[in-house]
């Protein structure tokens, strides 16, 4: 949630330009326009990958790949689409391609699927726990929940991005939130969940 950019955050002095305007300006050759866009979206996009890909180095690489893809396609950018939706759509494609490739390698070439980062301290453990809890959701439910909670996309944007009907997005989001609440509230036999309960109190 903290990653979500607000247009008024940057360019405090002057009237803030919309993402779409910036993109058009960049396609006309203004590097500054892109650096403004990058400043707005580097953290959200990094978060997007960081929460979905366990390996931090891989997440960084995918973030870079997405920005480069947007850069290269800047000339073909259509102003009809919201830049935010466009960026996440590109990110989503790159993520899917990465997942396919990784799964393929793990299956056919015997490579180990990328694991999660080692648990070092409590803060990171919280994240590991979250990752675990979210990871136990159904895949599509998880994707919808993450897009809503962290990327702060509207239901309609999520529906467009995943190619689902709006009602499906709503009902699946509801289901995912209920399931996640149960997962977090009832730690049951999970030792990590116990610790998570502690850390929650502490925070």
């Amino acid at each position: 949630m903290n990653d979500a950019p607000r247009d008024s955050e940057t360019d405090g002095s002057q009237t803030p330009q919309s993402n779409e305007q910036l993109m058009v300006e960049f396609s006309r050759g203004q590097t500054d326009a892109f650096s403004a866009l990058f400043a707005r979206y580097k953290q959200p996009l990094f978060g997007f990958f960081r929460r979905r890909v366990a390996d931090p180095a891989q997440a960084e690489e995918l973030t870079q790949e997405t920005f480069l893809a947007v850069l290269r396609a800047a000339a073909r950018y259509q102003q009809s689409a919201l830049f935010r939706t466009y960026l996440y759509a590109v990110g989503f494609k790159i993520l899917r391609a990465y997942r396919r490739k990784a799964a393929f390698r793990a299956t056919f070439l015997g490579e180990q699927p990328p694991g999660s980062e080692p648990v070092i301290d409590n803060a990171i453990e919280t994240q590991a726990l979250m990752r675990q809890a979210v990871g136990r959701l159904e895949r599509l439910d998880r994707e919808i929940l993450l897009l809503r909670e962290f990327e702060q996309l509207s239901y309609a944007e999520i529906a467009g991005l995943l190619g689902l009907p709006l009602n499906t997005v709503r009902s699946r989001l509801f289901r995912a939130r209920q399931a996640l609440h149960d997962l977090l509230a009832a730690p049951a036999s999970h030792p990590a969940a116990q610790e998570f309960a502690h850390s929650k109190e502490r925070l």
Binding site: G29, Q30, V53, L71, P113, Q127, V134, R148, F150
Partner: protein, 429 residues
């Protein structure tokens, strides 16, 4: 939670918290939340879940990323053409839809090509098979073809019989006339002998070949008969053909008295548009003269032999020998006379080979090929084909099914295991 009691669905509570409801709906939900503790509790659960999730923070973006991206940005902004991502990357961006579409397209193209090339082959094969399998009348085509070829065959004998009779009817008169002329020559032997060396009028056996295209076939037939009658000619042979979906035609060999030939030809040409004409004349004067000389010799021999028989009396053997000789000479004479007559007939009657062809007009509804019959036959053939196809499939399964099952097990099991493993790994990512 029961939606029957609550005027607001739980999903709407969630949508309200997400700011996804229209103003009036949002007000209704908000009012309900104030009153209903259960729904307020639900809203609280959503809020707490979101708050818990918000603790899942992400470390700041490494500066190396920023450098790499901004370098590329300045490069692109400077007007350089950005480097295209590698083929590997672009292919890896393909979703299953792209692959399915691409693969399907390639497969469809291959199938169409295959079908196109084999269709012609298959079709001709099938036709050949049908002809062999049901030679009597199973296929419409074969049936109608047979009819079409039978028709003229049936027509021909009848017509030639008619014409033959006509020819025979006319012929005696002509034959008599010819005989009379021959007798005249024979009777006035001296005169003929005196004539022939003095005035060797050329004897020419004429033959004409005509081919004519007519518009109205029936009318042309009628006028052909009229022309023959008017010029005292006859048809030695005549064949008419009426084929299905083809122009009608008539092939006739006519005999026309030589003096009438020119007039008859002119009239024949008025029947229609002339396509082809060939005229030829065979000079038979010499042949005729030879024949006449030999005939004369033989007649003289005969006369002498008769004189011997009358004047002399001798032994019975001698008499018999002379009579035998007379009979032989008589035979020769008669043979030569027949030859002479034939030759003269050729000269007197010119031969005209006539071919009449109707201008072809395609008929919209060929009368003989009835639609209902064709439908019926096609239906029967279709049923038979379907049955054969089903039978073929069953036979194939019986014959090759077990082997296919074995191969499916051998190849399918590893594939199945790999796919399952892939799915599991994919789900974890």
């Amino acid at each position: 939670m029961n939606t029957v009691i609550h005027p607001v669905a739980p999903e709407e509570v969630m949508a309200f918290l997400d700011g996804e409801l229209a103003e009036t709906e949002a007000q209704a939900v908000s009012a309900h939340l104030d009153r209903c503790a259960e729904c307020a509790d639900l809203a609280e659960r959503f809020r707490s879940t979101s708050e818990s999730l918000a603790q899942w923070t992400v470390p700041p973006v490494p500066s190396s990323l920023e450098e790499a991206v901004m370098n590329e940005a300045t490069y692109v902004a400077a007007g350089h053409v950005p480097t295209r991502p590698s083929l590997n990357l672009r292919l890896s961006m393909w979703s299953w839809k792209h692959w399915a579409l691409g693969g399907g397209g390639v497969l469809a193209t291959a199938l169409i090509l295959l079908a196109g090339s084999s269709a012609i082959l298959f079709h001709s094969n099938r036709l050949a098979k049908q002809r062999v399998a049901y030679p009597e009348s199973a296929t419409t085509e074969a049936y109608y073809q047979a009819q079409a070829t039978d028709q003229p065959a049936a027509l021909e004998p009848r017509q030639s019989a008619v014409f033959g009779a006509a020819g025979a009817l006319r012929f005696p008169a002509l034959a008599q006339a010819a005989k009379a002329s021959a007798e005249r020559r024979g009777g006035g032997g001296g005169a003929a002998r005196a004539e022939s060396p003095a005035a060797p009028a050329p004897m020419i056996a004429r033959s004409v070949s005509l081919s004519i295209v007519v518009k109205d076939f029936a009318a042309a037939r009628a006028s052909l008969d009229l022309i023959l009658a008017r010029h005292r000619g006859y048809a030695a042979q005549l064949t008419a053909a009426t084929q299905e979906n083809a122009p009608r035609s008539l092939q006739a060999s006519l005999r026309i008295p030589a003096p009438e030939l020119a007039a008859a030809l002119a009239e024949l040409k008025t029947l229609g548009r002339m396509q082809n004409e060939t005229q030829s004349g065979e000079e038979v004067t010499q042949q005729h003269a030879d024949l006449a000389a030999r005939l004369q010799n033989s007649r003289e021999t005969e006369e002498r032999l008769r004189a011997i028989l009358e004047q002399r009396t001798g032994r019975i053997e001698d008499v018999l020998q002379v009579e035998q000789e007379i009979a032989r000479v008589r035979g020769e004479i008669e043979q030569m006379e027949a030859e002479q007559q034939a030759l003269e007939h050729r000269v007197e009657f010119a031969s005209v080979d006539l071919q009449l062809t109707e201008e072809y007009k395609a008929e919209l509804n060929p009368p003989s090929a009835s639609v209902s019959n064709r439908l019926h036959n096609a239906f029967v053939a279709g049923l038979r084909n379907a049955a054969e196809t089903v039978l073929g499939i069953v036979l194939f399964l019986e014959e090759d099914g077990p082997v296919l099952l074995i191969w499916l097990a051998i190849l399918g099991l590893p594939v199945f295991l790999l796919v399952r493993r892939y799915r599991r790994v994919r789900a974890k990512l």
